[in-house]
């Protein structure tokens, strides 16, 4: 039941805001309250309402097609829902008191996107999954194309077509799987019972993988991303990169790996190569960027490359690290976007060339930035460290002949991440104050609050990551059992 | 005569009509070719009607008026053809009044 509640709160909020015609200031406050309610419900589901009955919901939906409204919160769903509600809360708090054109529609679209993303995270029916997958895309299209930058129209068009194309492949795969099930059902349990040959697995794997690879994005399917991140309004970008890319990872973890484990092993080398190549490639590009948002976008591609490589490492350590990283990456990148937004708004530029010397007069902002940037490069005692530690550990234990290549090349990303992150800090904050930022940058209370929450999460989970591990331990075990190559080959 | 001969004759007439439709640009002649195609079909229907009659007669099956449906179909086709021609010619006349030509190459309004 509580899962339905999680979906209904933002949905009702979105509907209400679409119809709302009143005071602008009320809108942001209402959205903030709504996000707090969501977060509270999420928290309650963690601590009080955590019986299996509360955490799942099934209702007839398209019964003639064999699809039902089946939602369930497992370990993966928990951590991603937690990320979604937390990220929305932080973002809405940060946006409080901000003047946005047509705020009601803006927040309504954001909330609708939240519905879509939560739906994707919780759906246990493949058609429902697809439905939410597309539902999440539509608000993003409108947000980017109506509130975006100068080149927003071609960029969002590309974004939409690209991701949509990917998901069409996935739909073909879903329909094929449904036709193969014994009871002609879209439910994940029925799909799991299908015995697929290796060849079937192989091409179904690619149908699904393309969709997820574009969403993630994995090199070389990434070109929509920097443009979209750059042109979207930064709050939208932050949701895109903090929460939305997790849809692709969820796709890998819930649909791709457990359904096609043999194919995942067979194509694992190819995908891992793409992923680690993407890490290095994106890092190289990040080192060259002058635009702050583009830089963060490429760094995000590099991080996602690591996560994707971890998904195909096919061992429990990597899964565990990946699941933690889902949350921590979301929080950290959200922090980066919020800071980028602050810098852009207060100095009027995003160019590293024209920024400089902010640390001289705005130490508070600098401290926040440095902490979050260091979390982004996974320094120990920040939250990302444990995730990346386990991820790399898992990658080195990949059941592949090239495990050490993947680990070393992927590891170069650690070095390059330091290079571009420190370059960014140096260009923005150090040196003499530049013309764009002659005066101290003052932060409003709610902005500081949002940043404090982020930094608090970074430090808390950096020092004591065990709650995140416990939350996802069962899921990673289950996933590993489903994809354990040695036992799979022993069986067949 | 074997029914095949009628079949081939009808096909030949029909194909000539098709070729006419494809090669001519005068709307009226195209229209006439369509009439020709209709008549080819009519001829075939009548031939099959006769065939069915003969079959029934040879097998001494006691049906009233075997093969009569085919002839009635031809009748109805003629009715419809007549109606079609009246409307079609009216359209051609109207077109001619508007564009002073019956050349179908000028009738590319479907593009827009």
């Amino acid at each position: 039941m509580v899962v339905l509640l999680l979906l209904l709160i933002p949905l009702i909020g979105a509907c209400f805001l679409f119809l709302y015609k009143g005071d602008h200031r009320f809108v942001a406050a209402a959205a903030l309250r709504l996000s707090i309610v969501s977060l509270l419900v999420m928290g309650a589901s963690l601590f009080y309402w955590n019986t299996p009955e509360m955490l799942s919901f099934t209702a007839p939906w398209l019964t003639t097609l064999g699809s039902s409204l089946s939602l369930r919160m497992d370990g993966l769903g928990t951590i991603l829902s937690l990320l979604t509600t937390t990220a929305y809360f932080i973002l809405f708090w940060y946006l409080k008191g901000r003047t946005i054109e047509r705020p009601a529609a803006f927040f309504a679209w954001l909330l609708l996107a939240q519905v879509g993303m939560l739906g994707v995270f919780l759906a246990m029916d493949s058609l429902l999954f697809y439905f939410f997958w597309e539902l999440a895309l539509i608000p993003m299209y409108f947000l980017a194309s109506q509130w975006g930058g100068a080149r927003r129209i071609p960029v969002t068009f590309k974004f939409f077509i690209y991701t949509f194309l990917g998901s069409v492949f996935m739909l073909i795969g879903i329909l094929y799987l449904q036709s193969k099930t014994a009871d002609h059902s879209f439910a994940i349990e029925s799909i799991r019972r299908i015995r697929l040959t290796n060849e079937q697995q192989s091409w179904l794997f690619w149908l699904f993988f393309i969709a997820f690879a574009i969403k993630l994005p994995v090199f070389p399917f990434h070109t929509w991303q920097p443009d979209t991140y750059e042109e979207s309004p930064t709050p939208v970008t932050s949701i895109l990169s903090a929460v939305m890319v997790k849809m692709g990872i969820l796709g890998l973890l819930r649909w791709l790996l457990p359904l096609f484990p043999i194919a995942s092993y067979m194509w694992g080398d190819v995908v891992m190569s793409l992923a680690v190549a993407g890490i290095v490639y994106a890092s190289f590009l990040a080192m060259q960027q002058v635009d702050l948002k583009r830089l963060i976008a490429y760094s995000s591609i590099a991080h996602i490359g690591l996560i994707a490589a971890g998904a195909f490492a096919l061992n429990q350590m990597a899964y565990q690290g990946l699941l933690i990283q889902l949350f921590t990456h979301g929080i950290n990148i959200l922090g980066m976007w919020v800071l980028a937004d602050i810098i852009e708004r207060k100095t009027g530029t995003r160019s590293l060339d024209s920024l400089g010397g902010i640390a001289q007069h705005s130490p508070t902002l600098t401290i926040f930035f440095v902490i979050i940037a260091l979390a982004n490069i996974a320094l120990p005692l920040t939250n990302a460290f444990v995730g990346e530690f386990l991820l790399f550990n898992g990658i080195l234990a990949t059941p592949s002949n090239y495990y050490w290549v993947f680990a070393v090349v992927g590891g170069l990303g650690i070095i390059f991440a330091a290079v571009y992150t420190l370059r960014m800090i140096r260009a923005i904050f150090y040196g003499q104050p530049s013309a764009t930022s002659p005066a101290p940058i003052s932060l409003a209370t709610h902005e500081v609050g949002a940043l404090v929450v982020i930094v608090g999460l970074i430090l808390f989970f950096g020092i004591y990551p065990q709650p995140l591990i416990d939350m996802t331990a069962a899921f990673s075990k289950e996933l590993f059992d489903q994809t354990d190559i040695t036992s799979l080959f022993r069986k067949s | 005569m074997p029914i095949n001969y009628y079949l081939f004759l009808a096909i030949a007439l029909f194909s000539i009509g098709v070729v006419g439709v494809l090669t001519r640009r005068n709307a009226i002649i195209i229209f006439m070719c369509i009439e020709l195609m209709l008549n080819a079909v009519n001829l075939l229907l009548v031939a099959f009607s006769k065939m069915h009659y003969n079959q029934a007669a040879a097998a001494a099956i006691p049906i009233a008026n075997p093969g009569i449906d085919g002839q009635l179909f031809v009748f109805f086709i003629m009715v419809v053809a007549a109606a079609e021609v009246s409307v079609g010619l009216a359209i051609i006349v109207m077109l001619y009044r508007n564009i002073h030509s019956v050349d179908i190459n000028f009738l590319n309004r479907l593009k827009h």
Binding site: P380, L422, R426, Q466, I469 | L22, K111
Partner: protein, 633 residues
């Protein structure tokens, strides 16, 4: 658990609290309070360390676990401290010398605004905290946490004067170079975890000792792990090929240099390898690589130091060189000698850096020794202590450097006589450049501006007292490890560290030992005399030939720039300017363009001409009929 061990958590916690107070209260705290908090917390840690040291001396070490950092199926990494002889000794070095540097800093940094004064002390405390975490950790992960923390703090402190982009560049360089080593270190940890299922020192060592050479942990595994760990150590401890950050790290305030070079940071690599001595003892190949790299670094850095004119640069290269000596000792299997040298080096290098800080302070920020000279008259205490430091580093008895360096040379001699020869020569070079520095700075005539001359003064007590204490330690610090040949049963340090590092018994006759000692002492004395002859009166000379090569630091920075930095930069440019927009994105857009183009072509079929529609229809009919009647049959 011994009662004093229960306080162990306070040792790193106090500096952390100091960091938080100074960091968060930087806008409200006065300079006195910041300094007091900064130095006081370290003093507290030092006192507790003393207690713990006493307890360790009395009994055995202990592992204290606080909570589980990572706990999952098949892997448990506790947040635990290991207290034994090695870590308690390092605790003393870090907190003791750290405290002196803190005290010194209060005076040295007094010109900063109170905000950045507090910021400075918070960083300093964080630095000490990280280093304490590093030596206290009972497993590689906690060690790594401290390891990275040290890197971060060095980054923050090297770039402390953030206005100067040259300094921040040096900070970036330090952090990135360290990261290269960190990657190797991480890979080693992963390898250990995968193979042994644990990261705790004790479990890992037990496992390896039990399974070495079997398929569970083959000889290759040992070599790979030890090599990777060593690469990690080269980053942190500034060895070839990752040493170039350390001389640049002089950009930071001078006490920070003292902290980095003496008490913290660079000794981390030595500590880590000494800690892992059980694995290293099983890897002779790695050991010989370590000894050669250490020796090469020692020699290279010493030659560079010959022709440097920045007072801090000379000291920096001498640090690199001394670290090379320590690695030589490690590579020769003389772990105790290495740790001994860490200890004595901490004393005299801290002394030398703080002394140079005192000189720079007196000179109003001037660091070029060509513009100094004759300072011995005005800066008496500084001169005296600096002289002691130079004598100690040159290795003259009975100063501390003599004993530790002698232990290293002896082990090198036993291990590989060729290495001994080079090491001895390098030791002479050390004496030479150090006394060149001393003579150029304190002797001869003053070569600076008149204003500087007027400004010359001895530093305040807060700065000189640490100098005096360190000078005493530099003299006496070596007496805890006097070899048996000089004094029977005086090798207290060796006995103390033996449970952790294993005892070293030399199979060498006393006569040989006497010979080696007199060789090095005699050589050093001659070298000092030579330096006195050359540099008593400074004449500016153009470097030529090999000296020019040394002055330009063997062109290593330029080489790295050409071979690594520039290619990466240009590759990035190519990727950004060409590959991304013209290949990958062009492919993507190309697919879109193709569809558009195809649409445009197909649109011609939709001509609106009835004729063509009919034609197509007939064709389609033909095709359908063909399929229907001929193909499907």
């Amino acid at each position: 658990m011994q009662s004093s061990f229960q306080l162990a958590f306070l040792i790193p916690l106090l500096p952390l609290i100091g960091f938080l107070i100074n960091g968060l209260g930087r806008n409200w705290l006065s300079k006195q309070w910041s300094g007091l908090i900064g130095a006081g917390t370290i003093l507290g840690s030092f006192l507790i360390s003393l207690f713990i040291f006493q307890a360790v001396k009395a009994g055995q070490g202990e592992v204290i676990s606080y909570f589980d950092f990572i706990r999952m199926e098949g892997l448990r990494i506790p947040f635990a401290f290991q207290i034994d002889a090695l870590s308690s000794l390092f605790l003393l070095i870090i907190t003791g010398i750290g405290f002196l540097i803190h005290v010194y800093s209060i005076s040295y940094m007094h010109e900063e605004s109170s905000t950045s004064f507090a910021r400075y002390f918070s960083y300093l405390n964080l630095f000490v905290f990280s280093m304490l975490l590093l030596v206290l950790g009972s497993n590689y992960v906690v060690l790594f946490i401290g390891w990275e923390g040290v890197g971060l703090c060095s980054y923050l402190l090297i770039g402390f004067w953030i206005k100067n982009q040259q300094y921040t560049k040096a900070a970036n360089k330090a952090f990135i170079m360290n990261r290269i080593g960190d990657l190797a270190f991480l890979l080693a940890i992963f390898w250990l975890i995968i193979k042994t299922g644990s990261a705790s020192f004790q479990e890992v060592f037990d496992f390896i000792q039990a399974n070495q050479g079997t398929s569970k942990f083959s000889v290759t595994d040992i070599t790979i792990v030890t090599l990777l760990l060593f690469i990690g150590a080269t980053g942190k401890s500034a060895q070839l090929p990752l040493y170039t950050w350390l001389p640049d790290a002089m950009a930071g305030p001078t006490p920070v240099s003292a902290l980095i070079h003496a008490a913290t940071m660079v000794t981390a690599g030595i500590y880590m390898i000494a800690r892992s001595n059980i694995i290293y003892s099983l890897a002779p190949l790695t050991l010989s690589i370590i000894s050669w790299i250490g020796l090469a670094t020692a020699f290279l850095a010493a030659t560079i130091a010959l022709r440097q004119y920045d007072i801090k640069k000379v000291l920096a290269y001498s640090t690199v060189s001394q670290l090379g000596f320590m690695f030589l000792a490690l590579g020769s299997g003389a772990y105790i000698a290495a740790v001994f040298h860490v200890l004595t080096h901490a004393f005299f290098k801290a002394l030398l850096f703080l002394g140079s800080g005192s000189v720079i302070h007196a000179m109003g920020g001037e660091q070029d020794i060509r513009k100094m000279g004759g300072l011995s008259g005005k800066l008496k205490i500084t001169y005296a202590t600096f002289l002691i430091g130079c004598l100690a580093i040159a290795g003259l008895p009975p100063l501390s450097g003599f004993f530790s360096k002698d232990a290293i040379l002896l082990s090198a001699f036993l291990h590989q006589p060729l290495q001994y020869g080079i090491a001895l020569f390098t030791a002479f070079l050390t004496a030479f450049y150090m006394f060149r520095l001393l003579f150029l700075t304190f002797h001869g005539s003053f070569r600076g501006t008149p204003e500087q001359q007027a400004h010359l003064h001895e530093s305040p007590a807060l700065m000189t007292i640490p100098l005096v204490i360190l000078a005493i330690l530099s003299v006496a610090g070596g007496w805890i490890g006097i070899p048996a040949v000089l004094l029977q049963d005086a090798d207290w340090l060796g006995n103390f560290l033996a449970p952790v590092l294993g005892s070293t018994t030399h199979e060498v006759s006393h006569a040989t030992e006497w010979l080696l000692m007199s060789l090095s002492v005699g050589g050093v004395l001659l070298t000092i005399g030579f330096a006195w002859f050359l540099f008593r009166h400074y004449r500016a000379t153009e470097s030529r030939g090999i000296l020019r090569f040394f002055e330009n630091k063997w062109y290593v920075d330029q080489l790295y720039d050409r071979v690594i930095v520039q290619p990466i930069f240009y590759l990035g440019r190519i990727l950004k300017e060409w590959v991304e927009p013209r290949i990958i994105d062009a492919l993507v857009n190309g697919v879109g363009k193709t569809v558009q183009l195809a649409g445009r072509q197909i649109r011609f079929l939709q001509s609106g001409q009835i004729g063509s529609y009919v034609l197509l229809m007939v064709m389609a009919m033909v095709v359908v009929l063909l399929v229907q009647f001929f193909i499907r049959k």
